[in-house]
Symmetry: D3
Subunit: 289 residues, 6 copies
Amino acid sequence: MFRHTKLLQFEAKPEKPDAVYARKLQELIGGAYGEMTVTMQYLFQGWNCRMEGKYKDLIMDTATEEIGHVEMLATMVARLLEGAPATATAEAVKDPVMAAVLGGMDPQQAIVAGGGAMPNNAQGVPWMGSYIVASGNLLADFRANAAAEAQGRLQTARLYNMTDDPGVKEMLKFNLARDTVHQKQWLAAIAELEADGLEDTPIAPNTLFDEEDQTHNNTIWHLSDGPDGASGGWSKGEQAIEYLMEPKPLGGPGTAPKPDPALYGTYSAAKDAAGTVKGKAKEAKNKLK
Amino acid sequence: MFRHTKLLQFEAKPEKPDAVYARKLQELIGGAYGEMTVTMQYLFQGWNCRMEGKYKDLIMDTATEEIGHVEMLATMVARLLEGAPATATAEAVKDPVMAAVLGGMDPQQAIVAGGGAMPNNAQGVPWMGSYIVASGNLLADFRANAAAEAQGRLQTARLYNMTDDPGVKEMLKFNLARDTVHQKQWLAAIAELEADGLEDTPIAPNTLFDEEDQTHNNTIWHLSDGPDGASGGWSKGEQAIEYLMEPKPLGGPGTAPKPDPALYGTYSAAKDAAGTVKGKAKEAKNKLK
Amino acid sequence: MFRHTKLLQFEAKPEKPDAVYARKLQELIGGAYGEMTVTMQYLFQGWNCRMEGKYKDLIMDTATEEIGHVEMLATMVARLLEGAPATATAEAVKDPVMAAVLGGMDPQQAIVAGGGAMPNNAQGVPWMGSYIVASGNLLADFRANAAAEAQGRLQTARLYNMTDDPGVKEMLKFNLARDTVHQKQWLAAIAELEADGLEDTPIAPNTLFDEEDQTHNNTIWHLSDGPDGASGGWSKGEQAIEYLMEPKPLGGPGTAPKPDPALYGTYSAAKDAAGTVKGKAKEAKNKLK
Amino acid sequence: MFRHTKLLQFEAKPEKPDAVYARKLQELIGGAYGEMTVTMQYLFQGWNCRMEGKYKDLIMDTATEEIGHVEMLATMVARLLEGAPATATAEAVKDPVMAAVLGGMDPQQAIVAGGGAMPNNAQGVPWMGSYIVASGNLLADFRANAAAEAQGRLQTARLYNMTDDPGVKEMLKFNLARDTVHQKQWLAAIAELEADGLEDTPIAPNTLFDEEDQTHNNTIWHLSDGPDGASGGWSKGEQAIEYLMEPKPLGGPGTAPKPDPALYGTYSAAKDAAGTVKGKAKEAKNKLK
Amino acid sequence: MFRHTKLLQFEAKPEKPDAVYARKLQELIGGAYGEMTVTMQYLFQGWNCRMEGKYKDLIMDTATEEIGHVEMLATMVARLLEGAPATATAEAVKDPVMAAVLGGMDPQQAIVAGGGAMPNNAQGVPWMGSYIVASGNLLADFRANAAAEAQGRLQTARLYNMTDDPGVKEMLKFNLARDTVHQKQWLAAIAELEADGLEDTPIAPNTLFDEEDQTHNNTIWHLSDGPDGASGGWSKGEQAIEYLMEPKPLGGPGTAPKPDPALYGTYSAAKDAAGTVKGKAKEAKNKLK
Amino acid sequence: MFRHTKLLQFEAKPEKPDAVYARKLQELIGGAYGEMTVTMQYLFQGWNCRMEGKYKDLIMDTATEEIGHVEMLATMVARLLEGAPATATAEAVKDPVMAAVLGGMDPQQAIVAGGGAMPNNAQGVPWMGSYIVASGNLLADFRANAAAEAQGRLQTARLYNMTDDPGVKEMLKFNLARDTVHQKQWLAAIAELEADGLEDTPIAPNTLFDEEDQTHNNTIWHLSDGPDGASGGWSKGEQAIEYLMEPKPLGGPGTAPKPDPALYGTYSAAKDAAGTVKGKAKEAKNKLK
């Protein structure tokens, strides 16, 4: 169960409105690596975590924080939209400055949300549940979490360079910091899994290694003609991954089997049921005007 | 530019058809972490890579391999569907064994694809471009790649346990192996970025650290009441992340500003334009029958 | 900012697992009228609410409760999936009882989530931000909220009839009750808007009545031949809406204008640019083999 | 079965083209509360209505009208796009007025539709079947209909303020009027359900009240710290809903059960199958280079 | 403007209910080539048609018919669902026949629609506006229409083989016939465009042939190793398309340019801004715990 | 299996950057008829082709070429974005030329991709698997292929008119040429199917003609009042399709059956279970505060 305080985790006050930037910030709300994603990703991971204790508690602490990040961003967007010329008409758009603002605005923030944030990305695509990952395997999921925080911090850093507003920058500095610590924590949690003896290798899931095809689990297939792949550190030293410079296909041709005649693939109509289906077809053809 | 040979990278021959399993395999074709995703993810990363040389070549080698994995899986699905009772009618379904098969089949594999694979996941949701990540930052993207291969290997491992067919298992053993080496290679490439002096910290992007809010980049906020988060290794030793046990909100209330009266938020109608809008509203009310 | 306790708002303990029902419950998690929708709908409404005070506080109280409902349902799903025969192979499926379970299961709950809930509906379609409404107009939004709770309670009632499990039924009884009180509260809040003088009519938004076309705001157009529409109470008494029994179109033909020749609509190619475009086309035709 | 006349229900003639506004109008065509939604919503409700007579006839009359609204808007969009500078090149865009128009246009209206309307919203997101509701329960659906017309009228009102074009405003006045009468009619139809004895309470569905948890169907949980929720009219008088000021969770912790080892959740790999899975993992680790 | 009669275009009466088949029929309602698609495709083509007269009238006649096809199928689905064991519980599912039905049913038809059709395909994916094409170019669109009717007839034919119900087969025979005539009519309309001199070649759009690269508009590039492509009729005779047996890339390497340092691509951080960004990064690294 | 060379199929070098045009080109990458669509459409058709030989080889040759087209366009987009003012702030936007560029840019190309292409269309909607068709019936699929190439060439032609850049135009001339030859080849392949005796009529699938309703496979229903449909060439001569000028519905009313009371459709609650459900409802009403 959750509780809420009206106070924001961190202040979200722009110095002045900027409707164009309000659209760009939507990426951090409803984009594939926005705050709605990490909120839902961590919540589902936490609820689906099978071990009570430190891992689950860390996940739920972080998940709960992220709901508050959506809140901060939604508040910032509403404030950036204050006084936005949403209802400017064609005449007004002839003023270049006004035009600049209107051309770059998110029309749905005005028409649909009445001057507030949408659960969408910067292009207006609604947030989707398919953005999140919660597999029940902590190694696989912590790696996805560190990756998500890296993409999130990268987008935040880009957006940090797209504004001069001190109030916005102040909040983004906080967001950058949280994305830093969250990257650190998920990487540390991966190390902890090993320290706890829960994972022996960095490969997820940590099993089926005997069953997997041992001939093919340490080779890179050279299938593009760039000459430098084999010169990377990954192909050197004790842990070297072998570079197969002239790889050959191991399988035969990918022929699909004869289809069910009742599904009317071209093959069956032509070859198998020639006496019946085709006969009917010919007869029908004569009837067709 | 690409070239194709009809020979599969690895054999994809089931011992016998299994229409129910053909549906499950769709997750590895068109799921969020299926082969269509890694294909497109690596292709866009390669095309968007700004440094010629080993990193780009490694990405393109792997991308090109993955197209062939979609091919192997699509071929396997078509073969698993051979002789599937797709057109069995209500009467036939009364046979329990038949019913078991029909209940678990993907109806679109028959109706839409004529007995072949769909570009969908195991629930029939079409593959989407939003599954992929290609940010132009190699550290962030390699971490996403390692995460994707971990999820992919996890799903393959689960599917490995859902079949007894030696032919299917043989192919999945190959897939498990490729997912293993691809995890290794992306992790090794992350290490290589540091070895090359391209990255100094594991935090992506590797910049803005001075600007980010230094007070908040090393604290975990204790916002769920699980008591064990602070006992993790992540809060111990030299690299310890501090656990804020009683965190307080740093911002004020998240009040949204007064909206544009022309957008008809409740506030404006009531308070601002009382003399006009409300007057009109009252008058209008009398007119409304 | 939010806080979380590990205790559920209400108990979510099935008497025994039921993997088929676990799929159906997904509709209440990630369906268009599931708990993810009301959570996000109320959160965005609250953050976008322009009047501090009772309305905003009521919205945020309810929003915060709903996050906990997603939690209860996700927990219930994980428990219903305990021991589910997710990895049963083709051979096992020949047992009718097993087949019944496997045919009705959500394959992604096993393959993707490792035996947990997905952020999807009962057919596996991911939850989407487009399900929610938060317009900034309280009358319009409260009406949408009452409607959402009605659909939610209806689906819960249907699901209540699809199980015999006392533990599941116990939780659904709680959910039914919450959907009841939430319907009451949003309807009461609509009345309160009028009591507060914030709305004068039940028509949202409460403005532009003078501007709207007065000739057409009280007539139902009889455009289907069902004879009984005009006999409804809506066409009787003081508030009667007039039934136009033989309505005629008021506009002219919907002809589209002549298109830009550079966009190659058929018209322009044929008629306008005949001397040039068509000349070229003819010439080109001769060249085409 | 349907029939069509080429005459529009109401005239759709702009005084002059306005390509920027043509994009905004897309929200009324293919947005979540646009005319495609009410068209399909009412059609499916009508086809799924189980009682012949006045309710079904009213639904079908309205559904049929709404198809004509999509037609009016699509025609208006094509006319607003007449002469749009769709093919202006980078050089032309240096003219500020031209730039203003091009920056605000929907690029797909030119590239994909050749200067016509798209089945999309104002941000280019395609209309989706998930926008509609047709549950078979008239009380629940009529409430959703009134809510949809309220959102639709609100968006129309906002768009009315975004243009000065007399021809566009004329059509929108008609649309406002239709949204008014449709709100009235669905609210009247809700009253009629009660008058007919089909519904006894405003709670949908009108059943399971004895079964629902009586302890929890009249309380609002105070879970956000806003102090004013309890001061609303909803908590006063005979129908008062009780405000639980210090609500406590009623359930235990939301622990997920032990997962199936074959699904490789972290728990199972670590604790249960230690002797087998982990043993294999360790052995495999030694083999991994 | 449209009008509706309650009479169906053709009878839609199954002999007996079949809930499993009701799910499959959803493909013809809300699939990519279902009736919702042709309805909306033809409507938008008609509204966007720039030439008054026979082409536009043919399009609108057909569009209007298709709305009635959605109606027939939705009615059929509701009737096939009569008495469906939607609320059967886990216990009941132990009966194999019941299990067969329940495993194959669409759970949303019961939970969401109350026993009616959904605006979805056979896998529950909502219909999307992106399925339709209406480009304003009649040749391009008529070809898409003929293709859509071919896919539609193919799916109908497959579904025809999946039922024994005489009532269902009767309706599908009508649908097959309509798909036949619609294919004929769109192919005839393509011929008519040429007869009218509106199109000179079968290539759409009928322009830019002089501008297009004449060296490359009649060659097939042999990029897969299948040996038989060049033996097709398409490479023979007067109209022969040349088969390039050993095609070579015509362009240089696809190198992406140096990115904007402010976007933090790996390249810029490493090479360009070494003195600044990297310096900061190193300093920051020391600070990071 | 596939192989890749770093050389592009054709050069993709703009003379100078043009960030606005980079957004428009997204339609050719990730739009419904962009290169990702034809790539995946032909790949799935090839893998699903049941006849070894010339048809399958032609499909795979073309599929392999198309992957290289996505590559060319992605490269072009990255080059068009070189030096784009992605990080210009509100102040900079006051310059009209800058504003023109920023208003028309795709914000995700900067924020998400770091200055590269996205797997999206020109409005930012992610590419979807539902765009492709691969039915297993060659006649139906070749017709869809010809239609897709026609839409693709039409969009390319429109985009050709939206730029003056000689480098861009050079590449588009190549694309136009490829779209021309691909239209020719799929039309020729349709002719070849007939020449090979695989298809007897132009109607797909080539079967069930005797079963289909012969009364209705050669009539156009006149359902819109446009008078000219019957004057088309399609209604003349030996192959004339009959125009039904006064068509009458052939079916009865589309009444839906009585629903399952347990699903709480309005009908059942009111009429069937009056003594029980309604009784409970009344009782419950008294209890409701």
